[in-house]
Structures are given as structure tokens and as C-alpha cells.
């Protein structure tokens, strides 16, 4: 390696590793829509009218979701993931179709090793402590937005009316962006998560800006504090109450 190549390598290394904060912007898509599942295809045969209604809802959902932009602000130790305010979509009563259930703010703190989800729901505000995901790092790699990324797969276990439910999370992270945060509270990988799929949602990095400036991240404080298990258990009971 000649001196010129060596200098370029040093400069590019320090330009990324010398950064202390950043701001990433993500888009979102819905994947595995219900109408394309086996049960959805069965519905197409047994109740075409209802199937058409579901299909139209999905189309509206996709259209609205294209307008959403999510931000991840971070410094070395903390990250905050949230939906950008857009006046035109805030006025749309259909917007919940696009945001989906897992809306709100996600605060990640590497020092305390905790992730808090702040949710403003139909019937109250909650601060939910999320469980860390146990990642399985795979050797698969691909380039996303110019970054060499590696695949990681995680599993989350929750209960639904006493039955254990396992949800898979697939993430692609970039070791060249040495901040271990990601969308909707997922973190703990050796690099920023640039692509994440779980629960029918797919988040993908659109833009990132790194900075040498220090950035303050505020921890959300509004809402009733509870664990994720307590939160889900509360909705088990709510669903039982409205069961037809």
C-alpha cells in the first residue's frame, strides 16, 4: 500500500469513527399483507366482498405510508426514534392505518441498557420497558445504501391469552456506522440497523448525517410505566371484554 492509499484510509476511518452523534431518516413499507396470505386467499373465495374491502384498505394504507418519515436521533449512548410531524397527514383520519399499532417514541439508552416505548394510545399514555432481543448474527452480507451490511435474526416471545407467541425480527446492520441503535427500539448490534422487518413492517434507511457535535437526547417521561408483559396482558383483558 502506498502512502497515498494509506492516508485516504486513515481519513475515511477518522471521518466515521470521529463522529459523536447523528440523525438517520427511515421510510416504512408494509410486507406480507393479509390478502396475500393463505387465509386471505381463502377469504377471496368465501367472501369476495370482504376480501375487496380488505384489499382496498391495504392499498390506502400503502399510499399513506409512503408519506411517513421516521427519524432516529442519536449520540454515543442514547437514541430516540420517532415519526416526523407532517401537517397534511396529521389531519387525515385514516393515518392510523399507516402508522399502525407500534407508533410513538422509542428511547434507547446503552448505559442503563434499557429501551422505553412511549405510546399515546386510544385510552391513555404509556411508558413501556421493552425486553432486549437476543440476536443471532449471520454471515450473510449485502450492500445497502453504499454500506456493507450483515444480517441478524432475533426472536421475541410474548403471550396472547396464555399462549406463547414467537415473533421474528430480521435486521441488517452496518458495522461502518458504529452506533448500535435502530428503528422501533431495536438495538444492540455492532453497527446501526439500516433495514429491519418485523410484525409486517419493514423499515429502511433513506438518509443519514453524522456529526462531531454533541447532541442531547431527551428521555420521554409522559405516561404510566409498565413492563411489556404487563402492557400486553392489559390488552388480553381488553380483547376479552369486547369479544362478540
Amino acid at each position: 500500500m502506498n502512502i497515498f492509499k494509506f492516508l485516504i484510509l486513515i481519513i475515511s476511518f477518522s471521518s466515521i469513527y470521529g463522529q459523536s452523534s447523528g440523525k438517520a431518516v427511515y421510510g416504512k413499507k408494509w410486507v406480507d399483507p393479509y390478502t396475500e396470505t393463505e387465509r386471505g386467499q381463502e377469504l377471496k373465495k368465501t367472501n369476495p366482498k370482504l376480501y375487496k374491502e380488505y384489499l382496498q384498505t391495504e392499498q390506502e394504507q400503502n399510499k399513506l405510508t409512503k408519506q411517513l418519515r421516521y427519524h432516529l436521533d442519536f449520540n454515543k449512548n442514547e437514541g430516540l426514534f420517532y415519526l416526523e410531524d407532517i401537517m397534511s397527514i396529521d389531519d387525515n383520519p385514516m393515518i392510523r392505518l399507516a402508522t399502525g399499532p407500534f407508533q410513538g417514541e422509542y428511547y434507547q439508552n446503552n448505559i442503563n441498557d434499557n429501551v422505553i416505548w412511549q405510546l399515546e394510545s386510544f385510552d391513555g399514555d404509556y411508558l413501556i420497558d421493552l425486553n432486549p432481543v437476543q440476536w443471532n448474527l449471520e454471515n450473510k452480507q449485502k450492500t445497502i445504501n453504499g454500506y456493507k451490511c450483515y444480517k441478524a435474526v432475533g426472536e421475541e416471545k410474548t403471550s396472547n391469552n396464555g399462549n406463547e407467541v414467537t415473533t421474528q425480527v430480521v435486521a441488517w446492520y452496518a458495522p461502518d456506522i458504529p452506533f448500535n441503535f435502530g428503528p422501533i427500539g431495536y438495538n444492540g448490534l455492532p453497527g446501526l440497523i439500516v433495514s429491519l422487518s418485523t410484525r409486517g413492517e419493514h423499515y429502511f434507511l433513506e438518509d443519514i448525517q453524522l456529526s462531531k457535535d454533541k447532541k442531547e437526547i431527551d428521555e420521554p417521561t409522559k405516561g404510566e410505566r409498565m413492563t411489556y408483559q404487563e402492557f400486553v396482558g392489559m390488552f388480553d383483558k381488553k380483547m376479552e371484554k369486547i369479544r362478540p
Binding site: 370482504l50 399499532p101 410484525r199 380483547m239 369486547i242
Partner: protein, 64 residues
């Protein structure tokens, strides 16, 4: 949840004033809509009870 509670109140009050086919039809229609909302919510919630509740409620807000 407010909408569900509201619907329950509405359904309750509709059974009170007069007895007739119209009232029964309204109630039946709403019951059918609540059933559709439940089906939609449980199908789209992917086994997560919070997500099931969210989509059920969302369907009611939009359709019932």
C-alpha cells in the same frame, strides 16, 4: 375503546325506546360490524393482543 364503549351505549339505548324491525335491524347491523371488526383485528394483529385490539378499534372507527 371510547368508540366501543360508545357503541355499547348506543346499542343499549336503541333497544329501549321502541320495539320494532328498524331498531332490531340497526342492532343487528352493528353487531355484524363488531364481528367484522373483531375478525379484522385478530387477523391483522398477528398474535399480539395489543395489535389485535388496535386493529379492531381502528376498524370500528372507520366502519361501524
Amino acid at each position: 375503546m371510547r368508540k366501543i364503549a360508545l357503541l355499547a351505549v348506543i346499542l343499549g339505548s336503541f333497544t329501549f325506546p321502541v320495539s320494532g324491525n328498524t331498531i332490531e335491524m340497526v342492532e343487528e347491523e352493528n353487531q355484524e360490524c363488531l364481528q367484522r371488526a373483531w375478525d379484522y383485528g385478530t387477523e391483522h394483529g398477528r398474535g399480539n393482543s395489543y395489535a389485535e385490539w388496535f386493529w379492531t378499534n381502528d376498524y370500528i372507527e372507520r366502519n361501524c
